[in-house]
């Protein structure tokens, strides 16, 4: 392993000078020729700064702690992680990931991350919920992803649920559907209420009647299939806006059993479908993907700007709140997300 001292020796200067040059603090302080020589020998020796030593000195590790719920069981967290990682990487940071599936463990894992001196935390939930920040995190720099801070003290990045519901419904309206059903979720999630409002608003804006009998909220289990089945026979919808992939599946099953073809006899817009549907049903299913990657990316950028105490260049951030794609796009994916910004929270 080659150190600054090695370079200093070769260049006949002290490591202080090397440090200056390699950290780009040499403008007008070091002889340009010396600087150039130092840079070249650093290159030649394949010098890699020891991040640990640097961190020890500067008290900044350039590590971000990512606490994710359900890292194990869904692809959702993966998207967020990937986005956060890309952002981190773009700014010279790195991600320390822990999963918070186990309750008691969470505090231990956090303690571990703290001992490594992470500069801040990303706290991500599987579905957008009002969340109490654990006490052991509140004195850290923190950004929530896909969750809302009850106390209102921390910034968060969340999907724009209203727009998701609005755009999904609008798309079905534009496709000429007249009896648009909403298969929602019976849990009291922010996503559910927001999407339902969007569904209603879209119908209203299009001058269409709001028929509550076209709307059912179901859990994710046996009775759900029966409920959807009855809705099919009772209301004969020609389109479905489905809360998620599981709800879309019920519609699938019902349609198949009645000899109906998705995309011809009935239309579906589903949110956040697992890849299996995207792969097998491409031509028939319209999917709105939650902007997991973008949320992760955006949240990490926000966190880094808080850590560094200044706004960072965000011109290359992923596009958010994009308009709906054209109606004939094969797998339309609409990106909606919102930064709930509580201002800088410095420690």
């Amino acid at each position: 392993m080659t150190t600054m001292q090695d370079i200093a020796d070769l260049a006949g200067v002290s490591k202080a000078t090397v440090s200056l040059v390699l950290n780009h603090h040499d403008a007008g302080r070091v002889n340009p020729e010396t600087a150039e020589f130092i840079r070249r020998t650093a290159d030649k020796l394949g010098y890699r700064p020891n991040q640990l030593a640097r961190s020890l000195r500067t008290n900044r590790t350039h590590m971000l702690g990512f606490m994710g719920e359900e890292v194990a069981t869904t692809p959702f967290a993966g998207g967020i992680i990937l986005g956060a990682q890309d952002a981190a990487s773009a700014y010279g940071y790195v991600l320390l990931t822990v999963s918070t599936d186990g309750k008691a463990k969470e505090e231990n894992e956090t303690a571990a991350l703290k001992r490594y001196g992470v500069d801040g935390f990303l706290y991500s939930k599987m579905s957008n919920r009002i969340t109490d920040i654990p006490r052991y995190l509140t004195d850290y720099i923190l950004v929530l992803v896909n969750a809302t801070d009850r106390s209102g003290r921390f910034p968060s990045v969340e999907p724009d649920e209203f727009r998701i519901g609005y755009d999904a419904t609008t798309r079905l309206i534009h496709a000429g559907c007249l009896r648009i059903s909403y298969i929602g979720c019976s849990d009291p999630l922010l996503a559910q209420s927001g999407r339902l409002r969007g569904y209603h608003a879209a119908l209203a804006d299009a001058g269409m009647p709001i028929d509550d009998s076209l709307h059912v909220d179901v859990a994710n289990n046996g009775p759900a299939l029966k409920t959807v089945s009855e809705l099919f026979d009772r209301q004969h919808p020609d389109a479905f806006f489905c809360f998620n992939d599981a709800r879309a599946w019920y519609v699938y099953e019902c349609a198949a059993r009645r000899g109906l073809t998705i995309g011809r006899d009935i239309s579906i817009v589903g949110v956040d479908n697992h890849r299996v549907f995207a792969e097998t049903l491409e031509p028939q299913l319209t999917t709105i993907e939650l902007p997991h990657y973008e949320m992760g990316y955006w949240a990490a950028c926000r966190l880094i700007s808080m850590i560094e105490g200044h706004d960072i260049d965000c011109s290359h951030w992923p596009q958010t709140n994009a308009p709906m794609p054209p109606l004939d796009a094969p797998i339309p994916a609409t990106i909606h997300c919102t930064l709930i910004d509580k201002g800088s929270v410095r420690t």
Copy 2:
């Protein structure tokens, strides 16, 4: 932040003594009373060792680099990560995760991890493939997960594909099925060939005929549904062993269109189904889950034992190669994985 010096001051000793005590190297070296006092004040002050400083000194960071493919898009990587994390945590390690979805970036990400001084790497692929280890990793301590090293120099942890195929088929045989079809994958994966061999072996061991017309390999797209559909009508299978969830879905669609009920008219054993199926089809679908968590856990344990240069206690490792669960278990999950051990690779 409280440091060793603070404790040393309060205890009237030098920080060296504090270090000895707090690292449990005080047996017979430090006065038990002093030791006890040190421990208590450390406790009282809420002392947390600075891992960075320690690492700088010891040249060991207790950080593991996890390079995962497709962290973003499937829940698979998540399971592996979670297992690796749990193992890491059990031995006082922590996981630095990067996704290798982007090709060129991979080397950069690795370089970043190296600068942080990770003690070793876990290299994970999305599906079990013969893999060339990138040059920039070969001089590190490394364990492969869900992948096989072409050069045979590095240990790997992989699913036992043969047993998966064997057990899945056996289960259908025990359930009384007579015309058992295999819906395989047309890509040349290790998983495909291994499971097919298992399928054949199980049939042979049960004294049942091997009918090649009951076996089709399909890709994951439109024609696949047609192929499966034709198999349905031509061979009238009473059971299906499906390579994965996408293949199982084709069977689902065909069954639904023919008014057949899974679990009554036909039986399915699927491998590695996404959670959507597990949630919505619990009573009907038999799923063999790939041991992602276990592979991650096991691999991390192996890596740590290589890093520490001695075998570590593995009595609490997840159970592997477990026997098939009883036939009436609601969601049988069989755990199969194999450690391909190449011996210690020390640097």
